[in-house]
């Protein structure tokens, strides 16, 4: 079932947390709210679950506006960041809870608890208490408890943040597989772009209560809507400057005087900055066309070498494949940074 958020605003006192949010999550897709802490992503998730009330706007689940329903009437399953397993109940009791609240017959509760625990591979541990489980197991119980009620959508609030790095990779693959098998519309809140990129169909990047960009991970990386998205996803070099010259021979002049040629019809809004990824630039000999600069930094990373180059007042990063020691540039060497023209972006804030 799909979710649609329409014109949602929410404030804590004078702090405007969600600003005119509009969003559509398609049925069956796994969707991420991605952004730095404090951007409003968890608030938006809790709004869908019914723990926050919007000052205005609608939350549609399928075709139904659920904004007026209390949390316990929504059928929106949520897995909490802390898992929120009840310490006074066994694993099986935890999983049975939602079913019991729905007044299902006892036999049905038992069989669905069993099925849910099997789905997450914990059928043996029903009699344990949460305190007797490892972090990864607790996480799976939390998921089992939520999917046992067969929710219309699944909400995951930073579900991997309490796991160690190795577990994280494993569990996110499990989550992805589970979601595919159940074909369950899922929203995933995270501040970790790698997590979002690796398992999500689409991502909404949020900052300061505003949705900055919605798209597939590749769209976001390749054609970010603005400076924030470019900077938040992956590494980006950002240079200030202005457009010089007339139609036909336009160029973008960065602070310090170096120029990048502009395609004739490339639209550059006023106040836009030059943005490019480190791997989309190359270092040429000093004096060749490009941004003149000096190497101030060098990191050898195996297959690639990352250079820090001072261009004007800013330092930019350039990543070159490592060929041999003979092709390495040295610190202090004057170079020219050349860009792949079609990879150069001009973005405003």
């Amino acid at each position: 079932m799909g979710i649609e958020i329409r014109d949602v605003n929410l404030s804590y006192g004078s702090h405007h947390v969600l600003k005119n949010i509009n969003l559509r999550v398609h049925p069956g897709e796994i969707f991420a709210f991605l952004g730095p802490s404090g951007c409003g992503k968890t608030t938006l998730l809790r709004l869908i679950a019914g723990f926050n009330q919007a000052a205005s706007g609608q939350v549609l689940l399928g075709d139904e506006d659920i904004a007026a329903l209390p949390p316990w009437k929504r059928d929106v399953g949520m897995v909490f960041q802390s898992y929120a397993l009840w310490p006074h109940m066994t694993v099986a009791k935890n999983v049975a809870f939602g079913l019991e609240e729905r007044r299902l017959p006892r036999a049905q509760v038992a069989s669905r608890v069993k099925a849910a625990l099997e789905l997450v591979g914990l059928q043996e541990l029903g009699a344990r208490y949460p305190s007797q489980l490892s972090g990864g197991q607790q996480q799976r119980v939390a998921v089992a408890r939520t999917i046992a009620i067969e929710p219309k959508v699944l909400l995951l609030d930073e579900p991997l943040s309490n796991l160690d790095t190795k577990m994280r990779v494993q569990v996110r693959r499990e989550l992805r597989d589970l979601q595919r098998r159940l074909c369950l519309t899922t929203i995933f809140v995270t501040h970790d772009q790698e997590e979002a990129n690796s398992i999500c169909d689409r991502i909404a990047v949020m900052n300061d209560g505003v949705i900055q960009h919605v798209g597939t991970p590749i769209e976001l990386y390749e054609a970010p809507a603005n400076l924030f998205v470019a900077n938040f996803l992956g590494t980006a070099n950002i240079l200030e400057g202005r457009v010089v010259g007339e139609a036909g021979v336009r160029a973008f002049e960065v602070a310090g005087g170096a120029r990048v040629a502009l395609a004739a019809n490339a639209p550059v809004s006023s106040g836009a900055k030059l943005v490019f990824r480190p791997q989309h630039a190359a270092l040429g000999p000093s004096g060749s066309s490009g941004l003149a600069g000096t190497i101030v930094h060098r990191e050898f990373l195996g297959s690639i070498v990352r250079y820090g180059v001072n261009v004007g007042r800013s330092e930019i990063l350039v990543e070159m494949p490592f060929i041999s020691s003979a092709t390495l540039k040295d610190l202090g060497e004057n170079v020219a940074v050349t860009l792949v023209p079609e990879r150069a972006l001009f973005l405003a804030a």
Partner: protein, 573 residues
Amino acid sequence: MTAAIDFRRAPPGVRLATTGQGLLAAGIALFLALFLVVPVVTVIYVAFTEKGSGGFTLVNFLDFARTDLFITSLWNSIYVSAMTVILASVFALPLAYLTTRFEFRGAGIVQLLGFLPLIMPPFAGAVAMQLLFGRNGTVNLLLDDYFGFKIPFMEGLNGVIFTQAVHYFPFILINLSAALRNIDRAMEEAAQNLGCQGLRLFRRIVFPLAMPGYVAGASLVFVKVFDDLATPLLLNVKDMLAPQAYLRITAIGLADPMGYVISVVLIVVSVAVIGVAALAMKGKDYATVQRGGGGLARRKLDRVGSIAAYGVVALILFLVIAPHVGLFLLSVATVWSFSPLPDGYTLAYYERVFVESGVFIKNTLLYATLAGLIDVVLGVTIAYLVLRTKLPGRHWLDWTASAALAIPGVVLGIGYLRTFFGVQLPDGTSLASLWIMIVLALAIRRLPYALRACYAALQQVSASLEEAAENLGANKFRTVKRIIMPLMMGGILAGFITSFATAAVELSATLMLVQKTSDAPLAYGLYVFMQSPAGRGPGAALGIIAVALVAICSLLSNWVIERNQKMRGAHRA
């Protein structure tokens, strides 16, 4: 964090829940108004009212200031309270520090024994203390025999200070120990790493960090001693404020304004002390700021240190246990005067007490149970309303209920008499003469403690545990029943036991409110017995029964709480 809810837009389910919360809050507000605010305001009002005309006046206070007896009483009360805090600190500091910071055998026993005095009415201890430490008590007789001098432990105000310090030092011990345990070991290790150790370490790092706990305990002791009525009365010290208030009302009558004026002075000083303590510690509670580290840094004592430490602890524990031993000896002694130990032993007093005073025991169980129940019901509800709802004005419930801490028992008693004496039931009996008034006064007096216990319990239940239940389809009521109540049970029980145990030995308010002996609780009977030398045997027997009663209940609850926690395992760790 929940956004401010616009009630017009709030979902119907939420609105319904909010209405229910509003009704609950209104009910509690009414209860607090009737049985706390109105009686106290009445007392204050009468103190500022001219007798006869009913107009506003300060003349009563002028009279208070002009009467030497009252001024002396005021200074005596302040002196006794301050000295008690100092003496209690002398008892509590080494016990707390040694048992939390060093590898100390029997630390558990020390902490347990530290609670012992609390389960005995202080005035019961007073008589035993006189027999042990009085001019012709055991210790002085022995001192005189062997060294030829006596120490005036129990002369006049000294007696009150000594008895109260032995009784109340656990408040400082408990708070200080908790504070010491909360200090991250890395704090001390960092200081040691930089070359600081021993007393310097204590003075520069440990004590400042534990200060909030110490001040909390110390201010509580000050206020409790300042308000206490029965201990000075039993030690025959009358020139202190609380006894004066009691004596004015009982000897001259409810219409005499001086009782009310003294009450106002008692309230003002109590509030001032609690306020100053809170102000002094504002922003200085670091317990929650510290991170990392983990367990306690326990150090080893060297040989000399060990001997000194065990010596100090043994001496303090001897003092702590002394009243209990004394009371027990008294309860089985045929005759005990002018001799270190009783002349002969008998069980006759227990027989007599069980036969004659069964009604006291029954009343105590009934009153303390009811008061404890009222307290946990109010405590859980207030804690829930304050911590988990957005009800406007909910903090006032907390503030009002906690304010009872600053209302001396004798003031509450006077307030109840004045407020409810004129209110008559259809059959003509006065409301103030019903035993249920004693229960209500006890419940109000103990509410702040039960409330704190409930707060702590609810705070440990993470809000996400509740939200998870709502998310899975449980409404507010079901969530409270299936998740919150079971998880709070330990704290609720702790709150109940605190209320029950302390209400069982409370006397200040009760002394004013008991109208006939058949309604009297154990503490009252004990007090009456203890006033005559012939009644001391049975009184002591009654005291031992009270101690046993409270001890059994406390152990029982402790057992239940521990079992509860064990079941839940280390989840919260």
